[in-house]
């Protein structure tokens, strides 16, 4: 425990070079995200936000550079540093909302209370509905509940508000606030207007480099 506190540097991205297929996304990129930091990521479609986020989660392997979490390379297996919310909700359609969460609770080895997570995202009434009967917004809320369930200090969210109504957007805002106040870190890609959360909020804008072919 002491060790962790001494080495609580959060996410460190060092000299990252990232390509998707033959398309370059980033090169020589550095970023440090310490506990309590919130990073919004903006950029047009296809610029590579999702690839970058996946890379930070440890789902994609970067071509160059290192990504460290508290000093350890994130590609080391079973680090459990990040909870990821992508475009797909990853719920099993034939299981109920509650059963889906129970599965992830055991997988995450989480001690958090499922019922309170469900209440927080406003799915308490639907807890015994099968995931396939949930609407897109409700399904997203279930993903948020899974996020709450995980112990991971780093949240990586890819367009979390994409299918959400106004209430849902406010819900996400509230959850982000809580997580940042509890000394978590957030990386979030969104097309919406970035909002200040906590004491250290930054906005990263990805702009296209020159895309025409070099001779």
């Amino acid at each position: 425990m002491d060790d962790q506190q001494q080495n609580n540097t959060g996410l460190e991205i060092v000299n990252l070079g990232l390509q998707r297929g033959d398309t370059a996304i980033l090169s020589g990129f550095n970023l440090s995200v310490t506990p309590g930091d919130m990073v919004w990521i903006k950029g047009s479609n296809g610029i590579g936000k999702t690839s970058f986020l996946k890379c930070c989660a440890g789902l994609l392997r970067a071509q160059e550079g290192n990504i460290l979490w508290n000093g350890d390379n994130i590609l080391k297996s079973s680090l459990g540093h990040a909870a990821y919310l992508g475009h797909l909700d990853a719920h099993k359609p034939d299981l109920t909302a509650l059963e889906n969460l129970q599965f992830w609770q055991t997988i995450y080895d989480s001690t958090k209370d499922i019922n309170s997570c469900l209440k927080q995202v406003g799915l308490w009434k639907q807890k015994d509905q099968k995931a396939k009967t949930l609407s897109a917004g409700q399904s997203r809320r279930l993903s948020l509940a899974r996020l709450l369930l995980s112990n991971a200090p780093l949240w990586i969210l890819d367009e979390p508000a994409a299918v959400m109504d106004e209430k849902g957007k406010n819900l996400i805002q509230g959850l982000l606030n809580n997580h940042i106040n509890a000394n978590g870190c957030v990386l979030l890609a969104s097309h919406g207007a970035p909002v200040r959360v906590g004491n250290h909020t930054r906005l990263l804008s990805f702009d296209a480099g020159d895309t025409h072919a070099r001779a």
Partner: protein, 221 residues
């Protein structure tokens, strides 16, 4: 360990609610046997010596058809990414999947062997020989099938390629399995074939599970 059992529990529950689609490979197994018996003339005297080979063939074919879907849904809905991030370890996940698959596809076939024996008028000794050879070889069948399924998890072109990938490595199992089920009548479980099958299963577990996990990792990267 807990993560492993929860994957098993989840998949069994999903299979239970799926309306019995896992029974399809069992039905295929019976169908193939019935067809072969009919094609060969239906005379027990000709069928009986061919039965072990036919039952082994239909076992392999019916199993191979099912591996395509083994990791497919978890890959398509991105559950695999979340599992990888959770720190469960993909090898554990693959192992759990293999256990579930054994319960859902091999176990029903083993339980239906008496029925197959009825089709071919097999005696108790032959049926027992088949039962033990399939039982001992099944870990290898599952592990190599899982490996091919993991390699082709993002390929939607049908199961023919999976058969091509898997069949060469299953050949030793077929050889020892058929011969073992025949020789069981004289030697019981002391026949060399059973030792060979057990060895093959151990090798398959040691090779197939980490290789499947590596293949899944590649599709995620």
């Amino acid at each position: 360990m807990q993560g492993l059992s929860t994957v098993i529990k989840r998949d069994l529950l999903i299979a239970y609610r799926s309306g019995g689609t896992w029974l399809l490979s069992l039905i295929f197994f019976c169908l193939f046997l019935a067809l072969s018996a009919i094609a060969l003339g239906g005379d027990f005297a000709t069928l009986r010596p061919l039965a072990p080979a036919l039952i082994w063939l239909s076992l392999i074919l019916s199993l191979l058809l099912s591996f395509e879907q083994l990791f497919r849904t978890d890959k398509e809905d991105d559950t695999l990414s979340h599992l990888k991030l959770s720190g469960l370890g993909l090898s554990n996940y693959v192992f759990a999947k293999c256990c579930v698959h054994w319960v859902l596809s091999v176990l029903p076939l083993l339980l239906c062997l008496p029925l197959a024996a009825l089709f071919f008028d097999l005696g108790l000794a032959s049926t027992a020989g088949l039962f033990f050879s399939i039982l001992i070889a099944s870990p290898a069948l599952i592990c190599y099938g899982a490996f091919s399924g993991a390699c082709l998890v993002s390929y939607k072109g049908g199961g023919v390629l999976l058969v091509l990938l898997t069949v060469p490595v299953l050949l030793p199992l077929l050889i020892f399995g058929v011969s073992g089920s025949i020789r069981y009548a004289q030697l019981g479980l002391h026949a060399t074939e059973f030792q060979a099958l057990a060895g093959l299963s151990l090798i398959a577990i040691a090779v197939g599970i980490p290789a499947s996990a590596a293949a899944l990792n590649i599709t995620l990267e």
